[in-house]
């Protein structure tokens, strides 16, 4: 067989430099504004930083989860663009850097980091074995290390296969992925608990981790869908990716929109029904002043609009619609995180200033930059994967 045949005619195009420059520009603008914001309003900036951190973790970790899921489930349809998700997973590498400013400012963000509070407050004293700075930092570092470890383990194996084309590498990745998935389940829950739920240390919700997980997968899928449809239209992927692949991506997006709404409503319903003051306070806070509008907006933006937008079969096969709703969902996820974190900072109503705009710019900059850097000198398609041929021929 000639090499072009085994490579399925993969061209090996590189992203135009323009993309990287745009990413770099956004990154720099966002960074300068964020640094400036830190000197003007440090606490507010740090809350925004938490949103940024959890947003980047969402896309990076969710993408790695998607890759692992493909391996353990033996999925075929997603093989032709799995590499795109691997690129997004590279965001995990910079998670520690995003968390760095936070680790130095824990006192301004987390009520429970103040020892005098932990001693006098009976409820918090009971949580002290978990909620203390040392353990918090250790937890974060261990999680980040695990993510990066699994990121390299999975993507390097996958990359190696481009050249060696060995089936045994797929088998090895299946094993790694099977170990990663429980690790993912635990770390994603505890990340949500540590960085978001403990902002209000008295309050707790047992479904909180799942709630963040639903957003995580949704954000990663949305980022992936946007990139995949775009790359496919511009010819970076293999020929033959078609409506059937689009439909599967759209159906997954649609499923997770519902999953998010289901989990969000489950959390709300139980708290609303039991009506216990120590639980309802969290929702009351988000119904206070102008926060009410953000709460309503969230339901509409993250559920109602994309639900009806992606309900019909043709809309899931329409590249344009998919791209639109992918970006829409990413924005919705950002609002979701804002809604989770910010009410602790400004209790009377939501705040929206240039600092709140700087961080999304930074976030987009980081994602675009990391993606374009990662895709350089890397194949957009896992051309050595034994399932690739079947993946391209995939029909519903």
């Amino acid at each position: 067989m000639s090499s072009s045949l085994t490579n399925f005619g993969y061209q090996g195009k590189e992203l135009p430099v323009k993309v990287r420059n745009i990413g770099l520009a956004l990154f720099l603008i966002g960074l300068v504004l964020a640094v400036f914001g830190y000197f003007v309003e440090p606490v507010r900036s740090m809350f925004n930083n938490i949103i940024l951190l959890t947003f980047i973790v969402s896309i990076g970790l969710g993408s790695l989860f998607f890759v692992a899921l493909e391996y353990v489930s033996g999925a075929i349809w997603s093989v032709p663009f799995r590499r795109v998700m691997e690129f997004f997973a590279a965001l995990l590498l910079i998670v520690p850097f995003i968390a760095l400013p936070l680790l130095f400012n824990l006192h301004d963000i987390f009520h429970w980091t103040h020892p005098e509070v932990m001693k006098t407050d009976k409820l918090l004293a009971g949580k002290a074995p978990y909620l203390n700075e040392e353990f918090f930092i250790v937890r974060f570092l261990v999680f980040a290390a695990l993510w990066i470890l699994f990121y390299f383990a999975i993507t390097l194996t996958s990359k190696k296969q481009d050249i060696t084309k060995e089936t045994k590498l797929t088998r090895r990745n299946i094993k790694i992925s099977a170990v990663f998935i429980p690790v993912f389940a635990l770390t994603v829950s505890f990340t949500a608990i540590d960085w978001l739920m403990t902002l209000e240390p008295h309050w707790f919700s047992t479904i909180y981790g799942v709630y963040y997980f639903s957003g995580t997968v949704l954000a990663a899928l949305a980022a992936g869908t946007y990139a995949i449809v775009n790359l496919n239209e511009k010819g970076y992927l293999l020929k033959g990716l078609d409506k059937d692949h689009y439909y599967s991506l759209g159906a997954l997006l649609f499923a997770f929109i519902n999953f998010w709404a289901y989990i969000a409503f489950s959390q709300f319903l139980l708290i609303w029904y039991a009506n216990l003051p120590e639980e309802t306070i969290w929702f009351l806070q988000r119904w206070n002043g102008s926060w009410k509008y953000i709460s309503i907006l969230l339901i509409i933006v993250q559920f109602v609009v994309p639900y009806f937008g992606l309900l019909s079969q043709p809309s899931k096969k329409d590249g344009k619609k998919l791209k639109f709703f992918a970006l829409w969902i990413l924005a919705a996820h950002y609002i979701d995180l804002y809604w989770l974190a910010m009410p602790t900072f400004s209790k009377e109503g939501f705040v929206l200033g240039w600092i709140e705009l700087a961080y999304p710019i930074l976030a987009v900059g980081i994602v675009v930059l990391v993606f374009s850097l990662k895709s350089k000198k890397n194949n957009f398609v896992a051309i050595g994967d034994p399932k690739l041929k079947r993946g391209i021929e995939f029909k519903l």
Binding site: F265, N275, L311, P314, K395, L396
Partner: protein, 378 residues
């Protein structure tokens, strides 16, 4: 036996690839009225047959929306109109609580309705028989072959051409299928008067039977499971006693155990002379507090300061720390508990005599907590 008509020409193929190829060719030629039969769903067939997207989705949508409306109306009518109950202080129509119910009804309507619509309108069931049933062709495609069948009523159908096309495509088994007109229908059977009559009869029978079971049968022996018994049932008429009362008055000149009649009816002065037979022991104090908290505290408050918990639904009583009550003898308070006073009802039936005395011990302790005696402070 009636005349048999040609239904279609069928061809069998050995592999899924062959059937996809054959299907593409058949639809390219412009045939519309044909069908492909495979032992399992073959990916890509829809595309090869150039099938338009199914209309079933719209039916599901409409049914789902009706499910939402039905669920909304049902929960609203039940909880806000027909049987409003205060649950946990929430409004009678609490929308969040009904979302799960509405959701389930939506799913029920959409799924069951869609399956029914598919069977009745798309498959045109019920049908005695389909021409392809029982043929060797059907036997083959339901085990290991892939078949295509071009209908004789297709506009382009010409027997020789179809046979030639199948041969070109490489099929080795090409057979015609005949059918008996009486056995098969192409119309929507459910619109036939007979079938509609059948539905109406079935509807009347099932709903009638349900009504009779739930409203009549359940109250008949033996289906009432002995719920109807000849015994004294509170609030109901006794069949046994001629006067219809279940509760009997005691035989004249007797008293019930533990119930000594109160001798000082309407005579508080005489009652004042009664001494409290109980000592303020730990057990007695405990009983007293328990009974006081149960029977007296709703009106008089836990600390007897007249801070009622009834939120104005009953007039607040005076404080029991008043000098008047403090100076009353135990017997005098016993009298109030036994007979009531003005609007305060009597507690004679709820409390035994000993319990009343215990309550008084507790009341005394409460009074002393606000107005301690010299000796208490030493």
């Amino acid at each position: 036996m009636s005349e048999k008509k040609l239904y279609s020409y069928t061809a069998l193929f050995n592999t899924p690839d062959e059937i996809i190829h054959a299907t593409e060719k058949v639809s390219e030629k412009g045939y519309k009225n044909y069908d492909v039969n495979t032992p399992y769903p073959v990916h890509g067939l829809d595309g090869a047959m150039k099938l338009p997207p199914s209309k079933l989705g719209y039916i599901a949508l409409v049914l789902g929306l009706s499910g939402i409306m039905a669920g909304l109306l049902m929960t609203y009518w039940m909880s806000a109109v027909d049987y409003p109950i205060n649950i946990g202080g929430k409004p009678v129509f609490s929308f969040p609580a009904y979302i799960p119910i509405i959701f389930e009804i939506t799913v029920l309507f959409a799924s069951v309705g869609t399956v029914l619509a598919m069977l009745l309108f798309f498959f045109k069931l019920p049908n005695n028989s389909h021409p392809l049933h029982g043929t060797n062709y059907m036997k083959a495609v339901s085990s290991d072959k892939y078949g295509i069948s071009i209908s004789a009523d297709d506009k382009l159908f010409i027997e020789e051409e179809v046979i030639n096309l199948f041969k070109e495509l490489g099929s080795t088994e090409i057979h015609p299928v005949y059918y008996d007109e009486v056995e098969v229908n192409y119309k929507n059977k459910i619109f036939e008067p007979n079938f509609i009559m059948f539905l109406v009869v079935a509807f009347i029978l099932t709903s009638g039977a349900t009504y009779v079971t739930l409203n009549k049968l359940m109250y008949m022996v033996p289906f009432d499971w002995m719920s109807n018994q000849e015994k004294v049932i509170p609030q109901s008429k006794s069949m046994f006693y001629s006067d219809g009362f279940g509760m009997r008055t005691p035989v004249e000149g007797t008293i019930a155990r533990g119930h000594i009649p109160y001798p000082y009816k309407g005579n508080p002065e005489a009652a004042s002379a009664m001494p409290n037979p109980l000592l303020p022991s730990k057990e007695n104090m405990k009983i007293g507090q328990q009974k006081y908290d149960t029977y007296c505290s709703p009106c008089h408050g836990f600390h007897a300061e007249g801070d009622s918990r009834l939120r104005g639904q009953f007039p607040n009583p005076p404080s029991l720390h008043s000098e008047k009550v403090r100076n009353w003898t135990d017997g005098r308070i016993f009298h109030v508990i036994t007979e009531g006073q003005n609007i305060m009802p009597a507690y004679n039936t709820q409390l035994t005599n000993d319990e009343k005395w215990a309550v008084i011990l507790h009341l005394r302790a409460l009074q002393r907590s606000l107005n301690a005696k010299e000796t208490d402070l030493q």
